[in-house]
Amino acid sequence: MSALRRYFRPEQVRELVLVFLIIVLALFFGTQIRDYYTGRTFIRISTSVAIIVVVAMGETLVVLTRNIDISVGSIVGFTAYFVGTQLARHNDIAPLVAVLMAIGIGAAMGLLNGILVAYGKVPSILVTLGTLAIYRGILVNYSGAKTVVANSLPQWVINLSSMNIFSIGELDFRLLVGLALAVVVFFQLMLTYLPYGRRLYAIGCNPDAARVAGFPSQRIVLVAFVLCGALCGLAGFMYLARFSNITVVAAQGMEMSVLAAVVVGGVSIFGGSGTVIGALLGATMIGLLEQSLIRWLVISEFWRRALLGLLILLAVEGDAAIMNRLRKLWARSELQMAPKQENQ
């Protein structure tokens, strides 16, 4: 037991438990759903996870600073719809321009959130509850009750969702999945090695101490919201590539899956603690659950939301009760180990 303690931190124990749960879930659904272990299931789940995880990265940055962004669903929907209509109107827009347009629009929406939170000093929950409605309202007004249909999009967008990077046996890794993994690796490195990443943790841990230490807190929070918006924009583009048919209610309610992914992945809602790997695992679990529930015939897919709510509550409750106890256990064992080492 003590050897175990030496090699793992409590946070890693949680991540291991998540991996274990994901495997259990996959095995369970394998017995319940016919033809579950096929390439198609893998593609479906991995693409769904890819979109959730990109948004979850952005949400992680915001939650680390002790804020929250619940407008993500509206930003994803807006960018998907807006870029979709632009591509439908001008079929000759270059792919890179389309992606940059999506990221830029998302970043602009994140900028508004960030300014209101960091400089307007309005609590983030209120700002994003408001912008959740505002962005969706603008979208509905702008759309004029039309939808984006696959026929009108240029061919490369439609092909994008079936493009492979590589395959292992039957398992195809789509380009979108690769993109999401690149995002995960980038933000893992950023949070671990770049000063900006460390400052996010510092602000979330203790905002007053961070300010006294001379960190430009407002700017750091602002940038976190802008990055979150930009990632939502990217996810919006991926959403467009995946579904091709976009209505005005696209990605409505996505904030729930994303919040569940982040919280289940161990990013503390009180700020200052959490890892990118955790968020990735959380997103994987939520994506797996959502996609499998749709095809599981025993209970209706309407269970999805109730389960998401329950998972968030359990994860937060577990964080408060179990993780604190684990951390104490670790701290105590370190105390016990200290005199032993002196004797040697």
Partner: protein
């Protein structure tokens, strides 16, 4: 979201200052209300008739009823995002039970009990497990709505007994339907409890500083628990009244109502961090939102756009006082600097 209890020196001055600020905020609300009403009545001549105004209230009566208890919770320094989902869950429970052949009276009571159960769960997590209300009720908002969807999936449940539908639609006393009567009773009760009772004082004290309240012997946990249970009960009641008014129930009943409800309360001058605010301000802001929504319908704005406008109001109602305070602070600082400058000049010159 660091909660800072601002308490500058001088208790009496603080009280007076808060009263002045509130008075001016309420004055501003009154002005806005008058402007909206004038614009609306220019658009439609029958606007100010009692029937139209009663109709107005009736269209939003469920949200208004919940806004009353939300005022208590926000003044207490907490938030309840789950109210709309509790409304939906209570209504869906009624629909499902009625579908299974349970008499409507029993289904109504069980719907109320479900609301109390939701409030108990929220309250326990917040008051005794010590979790932030934001997270608990966010999970509740998602989870309770999910339960409502499980109960009804995508079906409509209608065809209630005639008296039940009439309850929601027909006038009961004079021109007022039952829901409106309930609202006025609750309003009077809420004003008495919040402004004139010991419990109301506890709500403010806890909102100002939880620590101070605890050391003064206020049973903080019990007050919070009571508030969330009542919130669940009132939300369930509102949900059931909504079902009676609509005449049919589905899983998505009252979805998104929390935005309007919280906006009503915050725009009424209730402090997001607790400790300040009054029901009079909330009442004014309710009237503003009712008339504004009605006016927006008059000029044919769709529901999503209306919700967007409410979102703008929500942000502005917190942003505007912040900005005003910032500007005042800058002005004060400049005045002090100016004063210091003239003083030092005066000292140097002789």
């Amino acid at each position: 979201m660091a909660r800072s209890a601002t308490s500058p020196a001088g208790g009496r001055n603080l009280l007076l200052g808060a009263w002045e600020r509130l008075k001016s905020w309420e004055g501003l609300l009154l002005g806005v209300l008058v402007v909206i009403v004038i614009i609306n009545s220019l658009q439609a001549p029958a606007y100010l008739s009692i029937r139209n105004q009663t109709n107005l209230f009736q269209l939003f009566i469920e949200k208004i009823i919940v806004a009353l208890i939300m005022t208590f919770i926000l003044i207490n320094g907490e938030i309840d995002l789950s109210v709309a989902s509790v409304m939906g869950l209570a209504a869906s429970t009624l629909g499902r039970l009625y579908e299974l052949g349970v008499p409507i009276e029993a289904a109504f009571l069980i719907g109320l009990a479900v609301g109390i159960a939701c409030g108990l769960l929220n309250g326990f997590m917040i008051a005794y497990a010590g979790l932030p209300s934001l997270v608990v009720t966010l999970a509740g908002m998602i989870g309770y709505r999910g339960l409502a969807y499980i109960l009804l999936e995508d079906r409509f449940i209608g065809n209630y007994p005639e008296w039940f539908s009439r309850l929601g639609q027909q006038p009961l006393i004079g021109p007022f339907p039952l829901a409106l009567v309930i609202f006025f009773v609750l309003l009077v009760g809420a004003i008495i409890v919040l402004q004139y009772s010991a419990f109301g004082r506890y709500v403010y004290v806890i909102g100002n500083s939880r620590e101070v309240a605890r050391y003064s012997g206020v049973k903080v946990r019990r007050v919070k628990m009571a508030l969330f249970i009542v919130s669940g009960l009132v939300a369930a009641l509102a949900g059931l009244l909504y079902a009676a008014r609509l005449g049919s129930v589905r899983g998505s009943v009252a979805e998104g109502f929390e935005l309007d409800i919280i906006t009503m309360v915050l725009m009424g001058g209730v402090n997001m961090y607790g400790g300040a605010g009054s029901l009079y301000g909330v009442l004014l802001s309710i009237l503003i939102i009712l008339n504004l929504r009605n006016g927006m319908s008059l000029i044919n704005l769709t529901g999503h756009v209306q919700t967007g406008v409410i979102g703008v109001l929500l942000i502005l109602s917190v942003l505007a006082p912040n900005l005003a305070r910032n500007i005042q602070a800058t002005l004060n600082r400049r005045r002090m600097r100016h004063l210091a400058g003239t003083l030092s000049e005066a000292q140097e010159s002789p």
